[in-house]
């Protein structure tokens, strides 16, 4: 077992044990925080497929996070008020069922990602960073000024959505759902990295020409990576909305895109558990620094700066050493 693998187990187990302890110690808020870590890590794992594996620096993943959130918000709001989502050409009712909401969130995010990706991937480098940002900003302003679902005020869902056989209102059970999804997606992402697709995508990141000469189109590979990545981030968005029982346009804001990126950098780019470590560190900082100083973001900024400047490879890179080529 390599050092990184052991470290990954520690992180994965830690994220499971902390809320279990909190459950035993009757500290429900720690469970809520752990749930937040799991969800944000999920968003990060999604972005990491595009960013770490594919080298696509998307500064607009908040778009998919927000779409996932609104998929949940809109479906649940209609279910809450018993007003059908649409009646023509066929009747669609709202729903409070998590699996359906997740599916919708992922499918819609993926569809939007096909559109955004198809256009954005014509550019590269800084232009790609900026055009993805532009698309997210478009959705942000749209969400603010679109009155049907609350605009700037957002949408409140009074009761968390349901999952067959579980009581999602119990913090530890909702955590269990999020943790399970996180682990499934991490396993998927690990397989993906080793698959023929992952190999070709990673090659396209390093050398576009090489991939073309062996008869594969980097554009198609990247678009697929972007779409998969968006679907996962969209799923995270739906869970995040359920955690808060609330969605608002801030889920689309460029700060959100930046934050998802921060998780990856803090944890380590292209590391399987990087986003988990990064999200955990970020939430802990927010939780422990917040009460100490009103100006806690100064410390957060300083830490981030130090990581980028001196601890390249993030938390996992620093602790586990240089990435070994996996085979």
């Amino acid at each position: 077992m390599s050092r990184e693998t052991s470290l990954n187990s520690v992180i994965g187990l830690g994220l499971l044990l902390v809320p279990l302890w909190a459950y035993w110690a009757d500290e429900p808020f720690i469970i809520t925080l752990s749930t937040k870590v799991a969800i944000l890590a999920l968003a990060g794992v999604g972005l990491n497929i595009a960013l770490g594996l594919g080298g696509l620096v998307s500064f607009g993943h908040a778009a998919f996070f927000g779409i996932g959130g609104y998929a949940m918000g809109i479906l649940a709001a209609h279910a809450q008020t018993y007003v059908p989502l649409m009646e023509w050409p066929f009747l669609i009712d709202g729903t409070k069922s998590m699996p359906i909401i997740w599916l919708v969130a992922m499918v819609v995010s993926a569809l939007v990602a096909v559109l955004i990706g198809a256009l954005s991937l014509r550019t590269s480098g800084v232009y790609f960073i900026m055009i993805t940002l532009a698309f997210a900003q478009m959705l942000y302003y749209f969400a603010i000024s679109w009155p049907a679902y609350g605009g700037e005020d957002g949408l409140s869902i009074y009761l968390r959505n349901s999952f067959p056989g579980l009581n999602t209102l119990v913090p530890i059970q909702f955590f269990g759902i999020c943790y399970a999804l996180l682990m499934i997606v991490i396993a998927f992402s690990a397989r993906l990295a080793r698959s023929p697709f992952g190999l070709a995508l990673a090659a396209a990141r390093q050398n576009e020409e090489r991939v073309e000469t062996v008869g594969m189109r980097p554009y198609n590979l990247r678009l697929a990576a972007f779409v998969i990545s968006a679907a996962i981030t969209g799923l995270a968005g739906a869970l995040y909305a359920d955690l808060n029982r609330f969605v608002s346009p801030t889920m689309f804001s460029w700060h959100m895109s930046g934050e998802i990126m921060v998780f990856i950098i803090l944890g380590g780019v292209a590391r399987l558990y990087g986003p988990v470590a990064g999200a955990a560190l970020y939430i802990m900082l927010e939780h422990f620094l917040g009460p100490i100083s009103e100006y806690w973001q100064i410390y957060l900024g300083a830490l981030l700066l130090l990581v980028v400047l001196f601890a390249r490879g993030g938390l996992i890179g620093t602790l586990a050493g240089r990435e070994v080529a996996h085979d």
């Binding site: 960013l51 620096v57 960073i129 055009i131 940002l133 532009a134 900003q137 957060l300 900024g301 700066l305």
Partner: protein
């Protein structure tokens, strides 16, 4: 809708365009010469505005305030260049985005720590306040005219600087070939500091000039920063000419879109929903413009492919 109103709106678009240019010029210079994406550019804009407001409060002189904004922003720029930015030149864009994102947090909260959470006061000096009457009976604020003048003057000065002076030659050389200019014996790290400080000073000046008619507060730089990025991406990153064209395009699109779209929608729907849909679309318009430009010219209007 009268012609006078339309002309006035065009002037407004022009004015917001030239201010954007001051921001975008520094951003594009820094990218062109050093290959760096600087998200903290908006913080320098804020530094300029706060320095101006503090100076104006202490001395009562608007001119001194403008000088202070230039000096403070240039100094802040030089300091972060020396301490942080120069370590980022050889990094990939991702590291640059993250490090400068961190700088935004530090600058914003640091400014709030120093100046408090309340907006500061900075006003147009009395000799520039009020409106003047232009041909066709257009009433237009003198200060906004001044902004247009200053902005265009800076643009001209910048073109002269880049095309005529030794510094300009080095900047252009730095854009095309870094090793080359190092080989010529130019102290490249000093050149970088100077270029960065110059860009910062322009941003600071914009912050101070705009601060006098808007509100001087923490976070004021961020919306402008995003707009400035839209500008340089439309214009082509690294191109000063592109920054100028992009600024005017964005300024005019934003102003005229916000003004004309609701009216256009009003032609075929009731006033209230036209206003609300038109305004919604108007707020997305520049991003639509940017996406459109990039789809047809993936390196912007004047960018090198």
């Amino acid at each position: 809708m009268s012609l006078v109103l339309l002309i006035e709106q065009v002037l407004n678009g022009l004015q917001s365009g030239v201010m954007l240019f001051l921001m975008a010029a520094g951003l594009t210079l820094v990218f062109g010469v050093m290959g760096l994406i600087n998200l903290a550019h908006g913080s320098l804009y804020m530094v300029g505005a706060f320095a101006a407001a503090a100076t104006a409060a202490a001395t009562g002189s608007f001119l001194l305030a403008l000088i202070a904004s230039l000096a403070a922003a240039a100094a802040a720029g030089a300091v972060i260049e020396l301490a942080v930015i120069r370590r980022l030149y050889n990094r990939d864009h991702l590291d640059q985005v993250l490090a400068t994102f961190a700088l935004i947090l530090i600058f914003s909260e640091g400014t709030r720590w120093l100046f408090g959470s309340f907006p500061l006061f900075l006003d147009v000096p009395s000799y520039l306040s009020g409106a003047v009457t232009l041909p066709f009976g257009i009433q237009y604020p003198l200060y906004r005219l001044t902004i247009i003048g200053v902005g265009l003057a800076v643009a001209v000065a910048l073109f002269l600087l880049v095309s005529r002076t030794r510094l300009g030659i080095r900047i252009r050389a730095g854009e095309s070939d870094r090793e080359m200019i190092a080989a010529l014996g130019v102290d490249i790290s000093r050149l970088y500091t100077v270029v960065f400080a110059l860009g910062a000073a322009l941003a600071g000046l914009a912050g101070a000039m705009v601060g006098a008619i808007q509100s001087v507060q923490v976070g004021m730089g961020e919306p402008v920063l995003i707009l400035a990025f839209v500008v340089i991406v439309i214009g082509g990153i690294g191109s000063i000419k592109g920054a100028l064209v992009g600024s005017l395009l964005v300024g005019l699109t934003d102003t005229l879109g916000g003004f004309l779209l609701p009216q256009a929608f009003g032609l075929f729907m009731d006033a209230s929903s036209a206003t609300s849909i038109g305004s919604a679309l108007a707020s997305m318009l520049i991003y639509i413009l940017m996406a459109g430009v990039l789809i047809f010219r993936p390196s912007g209007l004047f960018g090198r492919a």
